[in-house]
């Protein structure tokens, strides 16, 4: 089975490492240039933030994302990992680290192995050197292979590759070739992200200036191709953008999509923790200043309630192929009035967008392609 069992109380720990050697056109993640002084201040900050939190809850998963965690030199990776371990009651069950192919080095790999990192996520994006160049990526196909071999040789047996599609200038044949090249390597997990035009990115500006175009029809074609090709290659889809060999789904992400709990550390990191949902301020200095004063600077603070959690559990749950067990949902959020859902489910089923069997609600393939539309409707239906 593709879905490892996770308890409702599971806690994930996300660490945002906000450094990139270069800002990609399409990217909206918070990142800064990797200056030595900033890295040191950042590492101090993580330790202090964890002191403030005072974790007593057991942590099931760790995820280092970015930014580019793999950009940190081996000794910093080591320091960051040891800081975490020192603050946790015990070692995690899954520990993922995002690595950029251009920054993979033997001493870093060794540091990660020693820490007990279990899972590597590589930002490949494409194997096509032309496209990589156009995206302004710092790596090429050769470096991907080299990084891949290095991880495998050192014994990492759970590796994900991030790929992107519907890129400007990418043909369907280009994309199929990338998918097959990825599958030929035989990673345990593949994430395929349709290019999203994020506000406040250089690409967004180009879009609004008409320098690049969006073609929703083509995006739909790309999606369908992707799902077919990966299924044929033995990678089962378990979420809109995620595919894995049996038992290799990312536990950390599953935990989030099921609306459990997670703690985000570092600037811009998001949390759903101790009854609240919030994001740390997306600014290194402000984040540090807050932490030093003992009053973290946070944005979008929301007090959690059952209705909110139930709606989000549905919205994000339906993005997963297993769907949502409604019986379990009703039990988990006993205070929520799910009655408006029935008529909605019926009409959506009539349109062939959802399936409802054995108490479990799932999107059909067509429905999955319309998951945002479905999500917006769900918000309307449940939060009136």
């Amino acid at each position: 089975m593709n879905s490892p069992t996770i308890s409702k109380d599971a806690l994930g720990l996300y660490v945002h490492v906000p450094f990139c050697s270069h800002a990609c056109d399409f990217c909206a993640f918070y990142q800064e240039a990797p200056r030595r002084g900033d890295i040191d201040r950042y590492l101090d900050g993580v330790a202090r933030e964890l002191d403030l939190v005072g974790l007593v809850e057991p942590v099931e998963t760790i995820f280092w994302g970015g930014g580019t965690p793999g950009l940190l030199p081996a000794k910093d990776l080591k320091r960051l990992g040891e800081t975490l371990l020192a603050h946790l009651p015990g070692p995690p069950r899954e520990w993922s680290v995002e690595m950029a192919p251009s920054a993979v080095k033997p001493d870093k790999i060794e540091a990660l192995r020693e820490l007990g990192v279990t899972r590597i996520s590589m930002g490949v994006q494409s194997f096509n050197d032309d496209l990589l160049d156009k995206l302004g990526r710092q790596h090429n196909r050769k470096q991907i292979y080299r990084a891949w071999a290095a991880f495998r040789e050192s014994g990492f047996e759970n590796i994900n590759l991030d790929l992107m599609f519907a890129l400007p200038g990418q043909s369907e044949a280009d994309w199929l070739a990338d998918l097959h090249t990825a599958m030929d390597l035989g990673p345990e997990h593949i994430s395929t992200y349709c290019l999203t035009f994020e506000e406040d990115t250089a690409l967004w500006v180009k879009l609004s200036q008409g320098k690049v175009k969006r073609d929703e029809e083509q995006e739909a074609d790309f999606y369908e191709m992707t799902w077919d090709a990966l299924a044929a290659g033995g990678y089962a889809q378990y979420e809109v953008s995620n595919f894995a060999r049996p038992g290799r789904a990312c536990i950390h992400n599953l935990n989030t999509w099921r609306m459990h709990r997670w703690l985000g550390v570092g600037p811009s990191a998001a949390s759903q923790f101790r009854g609240e949902r919030y994001s740390n301020v997306a600014n290194l200095d402000q984040w540090l200043a807050g932490i030093e004063k003992g009053i973290p600077v946070r944005a979008d603070v929301t007090v959690l309630d059952d209705e909110l959690l139930a709606t989000d559990a549905l919205i994000f749950g339906l993005r997963m192929n297993v769907g949502v067990d409604l019986g379990e949902l009703v039990q988990r959020f006993a205070a929520v009035d799910f009655s408006p859902l029935r008529a909605w489910v019926n009409s959506m089923a009539e349109e062939g967008l959802v399936e409802y069997t054995d108490d479990s609600l799932r999107l059909t393939t067509r429905g999955r392609l319309l998951a945002d539309e479905v999500g917006a409707e769900l918000m309307d239906v449940l939060c009136s």
Binding site: F29, L195, A220, T256, I315, L353, L370, D372
Partner: protein, 598 residues
């Protein structure tokens, strides 16, 4: 000031021929305003008007001018620039003894200019032709002089060559105003007669009337009466525009300026009315008064039905400033409660709708515009129908008549074939053509009003590459074979899209509307049919395939709030659409459908 030293005049010009620039020049040259004050003072019109390059109303200005050692008072009265406001134009003309007829030296005479010049001559105005923009390299004044002789029958020697931009000819113009225009007429009538040629609402003062005193005198404290309605009022303030309001002790015969009375409601003072003294009323009104009636009707509905009261209040506020706007409540199956509004024309309609959106922050939709049809039922009853919804069942209809217009169209000779084709496509009949000059022809034709409502002017402009122009007046009713065309979206009739059309054109128009809607409507989560029907019979059909993809790859770890915000936005976007059955129709669909060529 003696009437012999007063001149009242206006400027007749086609859009962009330089009226604003020339007016500013005259004000500057007579030192009515200093150059640097010009912008703030002169351009105090609504944003919307400025954007569209049309001035609906601007107030008259009085200038003091010294000529051969004597002081003259020159009153420049503005005329609105668009056919929708032709009655206001005629009233402004009525306030003058003369007109500057401004013609762009590169563009030449336009249809509307000719029509307005004729109007002016009919009203007994003296015309001074001014060939403007003489500084342009493309100017050919001789050609224009020829046109002036040929079309307007004014001797070419009378034309003044000028440039509002460089200042050429400005003194000649001012001298001509003094020497060639007659002094104020009808000033020896024993009774006081004052023409209201425009009015505006002011929050503090109430209604400010723009007036021309023909005979007698008005001053604060006078009790006056509006001759068309018999409504009495006390005069509070009189004065002139210089160009700011400048109160005076009195306004005597021949003067142009403003009057503020105790009347607070714009609708109580009709444009074109005559004001006289209550104690010694004039025997006869000044000529030309007419009740203005709206010609175009459309339903205006709030997208969010709970905005009805806000819409109602906003309509009332708009009407305070615009007496030409009429409305009454109505309801529609698909759209809920709203108002049926009457407008002077399509431009007036667009302006009002745009103001509701911008100034009153209302999300509204408006129905397909309609004219007033006269329906005679089989039982002899005669109905005025301004809403396709109220067209009786065909079995009860004996005849339907539609309003006609008499149009004057100017077109370059090479476009005449296409123009005639357009006219006949619009069910028009051209009965008279006249050569204007080597390159231009004037066509006179009868057209149904409903055919020129939507896109006639745009088509005319595109056929003639901008050189053609049109002017028209209403010309009675005519029996016609008309039917109601309905549009169904996902099998639900959307009455906002219904219209009354000629039977022969129903299918063509139905198909065009369906095709256009297919482009305009966003795809929905399921496939929908768009159909056109005449009395229940489907005559055209399109289908809008289902949306295929609306999903975002989610690579941002645990940032649920971010995703939620995006979905919220999406949800809000839907709220601003009109839900008809299962289908969400965006606001702009109701506007865009109007731009459908039929």
């Amino acid at each position: 000031m003696k009437t012999s030293h007063i001149r009242n005049f206006c400027i007749i010009a086609h859009v962009d021929h330089g009226k604003t620039t020339l007016s500013d020049r005259l004000l500057e040259s007579t030192q009515t305003v200093q150059r640097r004050e010009m912008k703030d003072q002169m351009l105090d019109s609504m944003d919307l008007e400025r954007e569209r390059g049309i001035t609906i109303k601007s107030h008259p200005v009085s200038m003091l001018y010294k000529h051969e050692g004597e002081d003259y008072l020159l009153n420049l009265i503005d005329t609105p620039g668009h056919v929708d406001f032709s009655y206001e134009v005629s009233r402004s003309l009525a306030a003058c003894e003369g007109a500057l007829l401004l013609i762009d030296a590169a563009q030449g005479v336009e249809a509307q200019t000719v029509a307005n010049a004729h109007l002016a001559v009919e009203q007994g105005l003296e015309i001074i032709p001014v060939i403007n923009k003489i500084d342009l390299p493309g100017a050919h004044p001789e050609l224009i002089e020829q046109q002036i002789e040929d079309i307007l029958a004014i001797p070419r020697e009378e034309a003044i060559r000028a440039s509002g931009k460089s200042g050429i000819g400005i003194d000649d113009i001012l001298d001509a105003v003094v020497n060639r225009l007659p002094s104020p007429r009808w000033s020896d009538n024993p009774d006081t007669r004052v023409l209201v040629f425009d009015n505006v609402y002011d929050t503090y003062k109430g209604v400010i009337c723009y007036v021309r005193v023909f005979s007698g005198c008005v001053k604060p404290g006078d009790e006056v009466v509006m001759m068309s309605t018999g409504q009495k009022a006390i005069v509070k303030e009189v004065g002139r525009f210089s160009p700011k309001m400048l109160p005076e002790k009195e306004l005597g015969a021949g003067r142009t300026g403003y009057i503020v009375t105790s009347i607070k409601d714009l609708a109580d003072i009709k444009i074109g009315d005559t004001i006289t003294h209550a104690a010694t009323p004039a025997g006869e009104m000044l000529p030309g008064y007419k009740e203005v009636r709206p010609m175009v009707f459309s339903g205006v509905y709030p997208i969010d039905t709970s905005d009805y009261n806000k819409l109602k209040a906003s309509m009332a506020k708009l009407q305070i400033n615009d007496a030409a706007l009429v409305y009454q409540s109505e309801s529609s199956v698909a759209l809920g409660f709203g108002f049926r509004c009457g407008f002077l024309g399509l431009l007036h309609m667009e302006i009002i709708q745009e103001r509701l959106r911008r100034e009153y922050d209302l999300d509204i939709i408006s129905t397909y515009p309609s004219v007033i049809y006269r329906v005679t039922k089989t039982d002899g009853e005669v109905l005025d129908v301004d809403n396709p919804q109220f067209l009786p069942d065909p079995s009860e209809i004996d005849t339907i008549e539609e309003p006609m217009i008499r149009a004057t169209i100017h077109t370059p000779t090479e476009s005449i074939g296409d123009m005639l084709a357009l006219i006949s496509e619009k069910r028009g009949i051209c009965d008279h053509t006249e050569t204007v000059d080597d390159t231009r022809v004037m066509l006179m034709c009868d057209l149904p009003l409903n055919e020129i409502l939507i896109d006639f002017n745009d088509r005319l402009k595109s056929i003639t590459r901008g050189y053609g122009s049109m002017d028209y007046e209403l010309a009675g009713y005519k029996v016609s074979d008309l039917v109601k065309l309905d549009i169904l979206v996902n099998a639900e009739p959307v009455d906002a899209f219904s219209s009354i059309v000629h039977r022969d054109k129903a299918e063509f128009k139905g198909r065009a509307l369906c095709e256009r809607l297919k482009d305009i409507l966003p795809r929905q989560m399921f496939k929908i049919a768009i159909q056109a029907a005449v009395y229940g019979r489907i005559i055209a059909r399109e289908s809008l395939s289902a949306m295929r993809k609306d999903v975002t790859a989610k690579c941002y770890g645990g940032d649920i709030s971010r995703k939620r915000k995006l979905l919220d936005k999406q949800k809000e976007g839907k709220k601003r659409m009109k839900q008809i059955g299962k289908v969400a129709i965006p606001q702009d669909a109701f506007v865009k459908i109007l731009k459908t060529s039929t």
